[in-house]
Symmetry: C2
Subunit: 209 residues, 2 copies
DNA sequence: AAAAAGAACGAACGATCGTGCTATTTTCTG
DNA sequence: CAGAAAATAGCACGATCGTTCGTTCTTTTT
């Protein structure tokens, strides 16, 4: 007998399969629009068969949320860690983030969840808030390194710049969904360069002698 | 007999009452989470009584969407029209917009709808897209006036600046919902001033002699 | 091969969904 | 005040929701 379920096995494998389908469904319909019946039909199982892998719908939603964060981190954060601390890493994060926005242009689970649960209370709200706060914190740290390196002005407020970068990513998703990705990306990248220039220690354009 | 229903009358009055409740419900649960049963209970009527005022759920959602836009325009746009064209009007729009974000901090129907319907198709998607495109267009025009007045640099791309301003408002709602309104507003206003300064025809801080 | 354990199924539950149809009540009109 | 017209209630429908339960099929262990 196994005291704890092994992470590789039939159970874990189908659970992962279900989560994959659930993630795609939640991307389109939101976490609140994710229904077990539709998920079961999508994955080719019975409702109860799917249900048995998660004690409740809420636990399923939570699992999707964590799967989403994992994907985000391994597509956006981890590749950026290979670059040196400071501005290069910040730039890499933003570049990866934009590409992430391209792959998941029709709905990002994490962003949708943030707007779905920001006004309520419960485990889902708490998880979403913790995720968002954690990622914002990491952005602040990455920006802080750039300040320490002298790549950004010493008067830079990391949380302020993190807010402004996050704003661009929200607008990227918003505009990509409504007006098309290409123009949204153009606007985003232009705005990001303006942002970096405006926080640069050397004046970006008009330099005083 | 009346050939067409007068805009003031019992029918129109209760329809307005229902819409008021529906708007508040949709603000919390989203347009997709708005159910006729819950709405009827909230307004103190029977399901069919409520239903009779709108031929279908979709028509109800559409009415809420238009009610939301009306409120937005009369709280954000119309007061700003009293100010002269150009930068003052742009500033007024942003200021009103931020205060609008305060009043409706736990969920804005229009923004929620934008993320709910950006990936689908149908009347609701079309309406949301039209609304958003229209408002963006108005922002571009307001910014264009400021450029013509010489209050913003001649190389200013209105659609680019409109994108960046919209980004701040999205981030305001996002952060206000998750982390509290006050800090979100602080970040938003600071970012907006940086934005205006960076688009200013005279260099904001370091001026070349 | 027999027995034990695990995984998925199928049916059913109470509830709620949007939507019709028919009364009944309310309001307006002559 | 009576009768027409409008507004609302009541009820029922098929569908779907999340969830539970007992059964069946598959896999592993003895």
């Amino acid at each position: 007998m196994s005291t704890t379920a092994p992470s590789t096995g039939k159970r874990a494998a189908t659970r992962e399969l279900i989560l994959e389908h659930a993630y795609e469904l939640a991307r389109r319909e939101g976490l609140e629009g994710l229904s077990i019946g539709a998920l079961a039909q999508d994955v080719g199982m019975s409702k109860s068969g799917v249900f048995a892998h998660f004690g409740s719908r809420e636990d399923l939603q939570l699992a999707v949320l964590e799967a989403g964060q994992l994907r985000f981190l391994q597509r956006v954060k981890w590749p950026a860690l290979k670059l040196p601390r400071g501005l290069p890493r910040v730039r890499a994060i933003v570049a990866n983030w934009v590409e992430w926005g391209y792959e998941y242009r029709s709905g990002c689970v994490l962003l949708t969840a943030a707007s779905e649960y920001d006004g309520r209370e419960g485990v889902l709200h708490d998880t979403v808030t913790r995720q968002q706060a954690g990622w914002r914190e990491e952005m602040c740290r990455a920006i802080g390194h750039a300040v320490e390196n002298g790549e950004l002005g010493t008067d830079t407020d990391p949380s302020q710049l993190a807010f402004e970068i996050y704003a661009l990513m929200l607008a990227l998703h918003h505009d990509a969904g409504l007006f098309g990705f290409d123009e949204a990306r153009r606007h985003t990248l232009v705005a990001f360069e303006r942002l970096i220039a405006s926080y640069s220690p050397e004046p970006g354009r008009r330099t005083a002698p």
